[in-house]
């Protein structure tokens, strides 16, 4: 398929003779950016790639943590193969209940703070925003670099947390006080290790937050100030709109997380009492336990959208390109981003329906939660509208894009179920919630992330990834992901975070959990296909033309953002990025950078292809 398309592609590049003559052949110039392997570069593309590689490493770590959790849930207290004897030497190779708590805490922390948020904003944001808007670089190159290195410092803090005697923070990624502040078993002497681990965890969270804040400042400024000539706001691709809205959300939400984690850190390390009630033993002040939950979820709920909006944007672009159709309802797509972002700040209380928060105010959080389902629904319907009547090319990124939509529907609908407070009371803190969050964050965000890697791989490395391996990767991931997370909806009585639930009334759930673990192992194994494909394609992938997917996006113009410095020929944008299959044109796409006159009308064969 690819080979056929590259021949088709040739006509339009030749039309751009005046630009290409002045430079080296553009198939090469993408590899000519300054020192592509220099992690101290300030170049957005280099740092973007470093983000990508780092986050993929962290994804592997987070995945292994998940496997350890699943191991314990399927075969509690049995020796874990391979890693067991190394990690759990003290306990004879089995996971201890203390370490099980660490496992799910670190799994969520790594996946949220070190994989999804940085890969979507720091990775794809840095890689895609400048070429998509026709900017030569990001607005603040130094911030680009500092933000990336803060991520590794943050990871260092997480490692330090792991190296404490407690072997890592153990109060969940939500870190609810007083458990997080007291650490471990209350009133006994063994809590200090946990407190140190938790303090380092907080330092890590603080550093990732500052890093994200710098990325957000950089992206907002770049998108608002550095667009190419003719790139109006409503000619921005959905990806850039999503990145812009995400960054604004981060700017508003992150200060709260930073503030809250500093407060919790001082509670642990300096003996303040922001979150410790006067009634508690060891209390020094009359703090509020629920204050943390309000502050945390005021950040935490927008964070969920921060982890999905960029993926939604990228999938929108992928779907339009491979359906060869304009993105359906572009304007409502843009406005639904803004609606999701605004409503996202007033729904945090739906995490707290059973927390002891005022029961009347739960009603207003219910209404705002239901309202946020509407713009999310608009997005789903618009994606379906984009697919409907399209001339679908089911490449790997397209399959992942359709998979994203399909999985987001399931994850979104279980969200609607839980927006009804009496129903949520039953489902709260059970595996039904685990199923919901994984449909949204794995089924959607991670599939979207993989789709984006397959789609923009040629832009990053000048080569295409193997379609055969890519489709196999998609197929196995899709099957095993559903095998893992769909049955979790049937565990709506099994509480989360139980190291060994299978006593008494919960004993019946053991076989289903073993099935889930088998599927989770299959899902993890499937990612080896991706790893092999990624590494193989870096070196041996088919060399790509400058616009292998015949996409309209400005990033495919073949004009290297740095080389554009020299030839004094600024990019100009002439239309929106979704001019696919226009009835006025012979070819089924019309890139943003092509002038009307670039391609002479050939009326004799209006449908020729």
């Amino acid at each position: 398929m690819i080979a056929g398309r590259t021949t088709h592609h040739t006509p339009h590049t030749t039309h751009r003779k005046p630009k290409t003559e002045n430079r080296k052949p553009h198939t090469d110039n993408r590899t000519l950016t300054p020192s592509p392997l220099n992690p101290f570069s300030t170049h957005h593309r280099v740092i973007g790639l470093w983000y990508l590689f780092s986050c993929l490493i962290w994804l592997g770590i987070g995945g292994l943590l998940a496997l350890a959790i699943r191991w314990q849930l399927a075969w509690p207290w049995s020796n874990m193969p391979i890693l067991g004897s190394w990690l759990f030497a003290d306990s004879g190779g089995t996971i201890t209940p203390e370490f099980y708590t660490v496992l799910f805490t670190m799994h969520a922390s790594v996946m949220i703070f070190f994989v999804l948020i940085p890969i979507l904003t720091g990775g794809f944001g840095n890689l895609l925003i400048p070429p998509m808007i026709g900017a030569k670089s990001l607005a603040f190159p130094q911030l680009t670099r500092i933000a990336f290195w803060l991520m590794w410092l943050a990871f260092g803090a997480m490692v330090l947390s792991f190296l404490t005697p407690a072997r890592g923070a153990a109060s969940g990624w939500t870190a609810y006080p007083p458990l997080s502040v007291f650490g471990g078993n209350f009133g006994t002497g063994d809590a200090s290790g946990n407190r140190v681990a938790q303090a380092w965890w907080l330092v890590g969270i603080l550093l990732t937050s500052v890093s994200s804040l710098l990325v957000a400042i950089n992206h907002v400024t770049t998108i608002l100030q550095m667009r190419a000539l003719g790139m109006t706001m409503f000619r921005l691709p959905a990806t850039v709109w999503a990145m812009l809205v995400t960054s604004i959300m981060q700017l508003l939400a992150l200060p709260i997380l930073i503030l809250a984690s500093v407060m919790q850190w001082t509670d642990i390390s300096l003996g303040t009492g922001f979150f410790i009630p006067a009634e508690a033993a060891h209390s020094v002040a009359g703090g509020q336990v629920l204050l943390w939950q309000h502050l945390f979820w005021f950040y935490g709920h927008p964070a969920v959208y921060i982890m999905i909006l960029p993926a939604m944007g990228m999938v929108s672009d992928i779907l339009a390109c491979f359906a060869r159709k304009p993105l359906f309802g572009y304007h409502s797509m843009v406005w639904s981003n803004i609606a999701i972002a605004s409503l996202g700040f007033i729904v945090w209380g739906h995490h707290m329906f059973v927390s002891g928060m005022n029961f009347t105010i739960a009603m207003s959080f219910m209404i705002s939660t239901m309202l946020i389902a509407l713009p999310s629904g608009v997005k789903v319907f618009n994606w379906i509208g984009t697919l409907w009547g399209g001339r679908l090319q089911l490449t790997t990124p397209m399959l992942l894009g359709v998979g994203f939509v399909s999985m987001f529907i399931i994850g979104g609908l279980s969200g609607v179920v839980m927006s009804v407070p009496p129903v949520d009371v039953v489902l709260h803190d059970t595996h039904y919630v685990v199923a919901h969050i994984h449909y949204v964050l794995f089924g959607s965000s991670v599939l979207g992330m993989f789709g984006a890697i397959y789609f923009w791989f040629p832009l990053m490395f000048g080569r295409l990834m193997s379609e055969r391996l890519g489709k196999l990767h998609f197929l196995t991931t899709f099957i095993f992901l559903n095998g893992t997370f769909l049955p979790m909806h049937l565990l709506s009585r099994m509480p989360r975070r139980y190291a060994d639930p299978y006593a008494d009334s919960l004993a019946e759930f053991l076989p289903l959990n073993q099935w889930i673990t088998w599927c989770a192992m299959g899902m993890a194994a499937s990612q080896l296909i991706f790893l092999a494909n990624f590494l193989w394609s870096l070196r041996f992938g088919i060399l790509s033309q400058s616009n292998p997917w015949q996409s309209n996006g400005l990033e495919w113009s073949g004009v290297d953002s740095n080389a554009a410095n020299d030839d004094n020929e600024p990019l100009e944008v002439f239309r929106w990025p979704y001019e696919y299959s226009s009835p006025d044109r012979e070819s089924d796409f019309f890139p943003q950078w092509e002038k009307e006159s670039d391609q002479p009308e050939r009326n004799e064969s209006p449908n020729g292809d």
Binding site: T101, L179, I409, V426, R497
Partner: protein
């Protein structure tokens, strides 16, 4: 290949649709989704809501998934053919419809569920003493701690937090068909009181005092589960619960009071 991928994308939503439809139409019990038979009236209303909202979602799931699958299926020959994709940018009427219809449904659902919410959470049961209607006083003070449950029953004075409280550990016995009010407090970190059969869950926040209530049918083998992470022993923090005939309850409490240990709270 398009046919293959269409079928792949159809399997999961259709399987979910079939299971959800059977649950919602009561063809299979809710225990299919892990929920045991409820033993109180609000439990049944919550189950109705549970079925209702899952039914609505199953409908949306079916409709959207079928459209996606059909889009893939119909374009199976397009890739090699000469047909072009439709050039449609938007459709205002369609977009208004798919915003307004779900909006109206959700708004209706929001108001519809409020009665259940206020019954279970806002309107503490009352009783008539003489001429006055007063709130039913708490029968038991539940003290949650790492990793167990303490139950301090109101003694002869019918009041909790007094010297004649009766202390039982990890076993909650309550009278059937009577309004029972529990007061929940924590000794250390946040815990959560969850009885699946009552469809009742309440976090217990240190420094706060929570009240929950129910009026349950007799049931023997119930379990109280902690559903808020409270430390490494979180999974062990479970207690037994029995709902017995009021007469049985009274004699049981008398017997326990006779071997009463002094209550150890505060």
């Amino acid at each position: 290949m398009n046919r293959f991928w269409s079928i792949l994308f159809a399997i999961v939503p259709l399987a979910a649709f079939v299971v959800l439809s059977m649950v919602c139409l009561k063809l299979v019990p809710l225990s299919t989704m892990g929920l045991p038979q409820p033993i109180n009236a609000p439990g049944q209303s919550i189950d109705f809501l549970f079925r209702l909202v899952h039914g609505l979602c199953a409908g949306v799931l079916f409709f959207t998934s079928i459209t996606i699958v059909w889009s893939l299926w119909q374009s199976r020959s397009a890739a090699g053919g000469t047909r072009r994709a439709a050039y449609i940018k938007s459709n205002l009427l369609l977009e208004l419809a798919w915003t307004a219809i779900p909006g109206a449904l959700l708004l209706w659902l929001a108001f519809y569920q409020m009665e259940v919410w206020s019954d279970t959470r806002l309107n503490q049961p009352t009783q008539i003493i003489g001429q006055e209607t007063v709130a039913v006083p708490p029968l038991v003070l539940v003290k949650a701690r790492q990793y167990g449950w303490e139950f301090h029953y109101a003694g002869a004075d019918q009041q909790i937090k007094t010297a004649d409280d009766v202390y039982i550990e990890n076993l909650l016995v309550v009278p059937a068909n009577r309004d029972v009010v529990l007061e929940l407090e924590s000794r250390d970190v946040i815990h959560s009181f969850f009885v699946p059969e009552l469809r009742l869950k309440q976090d217990i926040v240190p420094g706060m005092s929570h009240r929950v209530w129910f009026n349950a049918n007799p049931a023997d083998q119930l379990e109280i589960l902690c559903t808020e992470l409270c430390g490494e022993g979180h999974y062990r923090m479970r207690a037994r619960m029995r709902v017995v005939a009021p007469a049985t309850f009274d004699s049981w409490l008398d017997a326990e009071a006779r071997k009463n240990q002094p209550a150890e709270f505060q």
